[in-house]
Amino acid sequence: MRLILTLFFLLTFSSVICAQSSAVTEFKDNHETALAFYFYPSTLRMINLQRNPEFDEMIKDIKKARFFKLDSGVVTQPDLTTLGNDLRKAGYEEMMMMKSKGNDIEVLGLEKHTPEIVVISRNGYECMLLEVTGMINIAKIPKLIDAFSSGAFLDVFNLNKEQNDRPADH
């Protein structure tokens, strides 16, 4: 019985440790980040200044999101290739690739009960990493783009912008 319990705890804790030490975490730890945001359901709802129901609906299945911005000086293309390869070794599969006018975007996904998606984006002067644990409702995206265009959300990436000083409409 003791052996079974020991094995159970060892397996449980090793899987937790494994989930925490993802390739993205290692990459972030080895490179200086210019900006880092950690979003949870509660903080994601906070940026929805106008209480847009579409946004709440889209994020309802997101358990956690991490966003890192790194200057191009600290990240090279081979670094990102290595990150992509490390993710593939961990079971992530390519979901989307886009190359456009110097902007490269790669989306990799890990299929499991709660899916994990990593977006690697790079242009000439910066690199962005987004890791989402959970799901995003793709059908809500067009309405969200309209809402973002009208400034309905707190732009966490430009916190000094005048629009963010605007009080939320209730």
């Binding site: 599969e93 989307m96 886009m98 006018k101 110097g102 299929e111 799901m135 793709i138 059908a139 067009p142």
Partner: protein, 175 residues
Amino acid sequence: MKTLFTVLALGFALIAQAQNDAVTKLFNEYYNDEKFTKISVSSKMFQLFTEIEPGDVNEKEILEAISKLKGLKVIATDSAANSAKLYADAVKKISGNGYEELMEVKDAQENMKFMISEKDGIINELVMVVGGKKSFFIMSLFGEIDLSKISKLSKGMNIKGMEYLQKLDESEDKK
């Protein structure tokens, strides 16, 4: 008799491969050219969204259209000096590989051609080629394709280039 079936099966497999190669070759041809935007979406992306609960009928139709797709590839540029040649070459290469023409639209601004690959009454690939004065656009959608739902998808998704698919709906309305 068994040999005949094997030869036929191999023949069909080769034809299918040839169709696939025509579009893949075009994508590979422009892959390293910085002037072109390249987008590739795999079946994994589409699978991920099949588990989402639709909020209304419109979303249900968009998600239904997505759920049957296996992949999407796009090559686009808006700064091609030889867009007319690119368009003519692409149409020639694709249509010469067993794709059937579905629809053609010509106006003062651009030419567009829709081609499909069909098997057992099911459309398994839709290829769209668009050539403007300086623009050139190829999109290949593959999977199980319901044209009426694909046009709804293009209306729902705010992706540049997808609006061309609405031409399919317009042609249905005229019938």
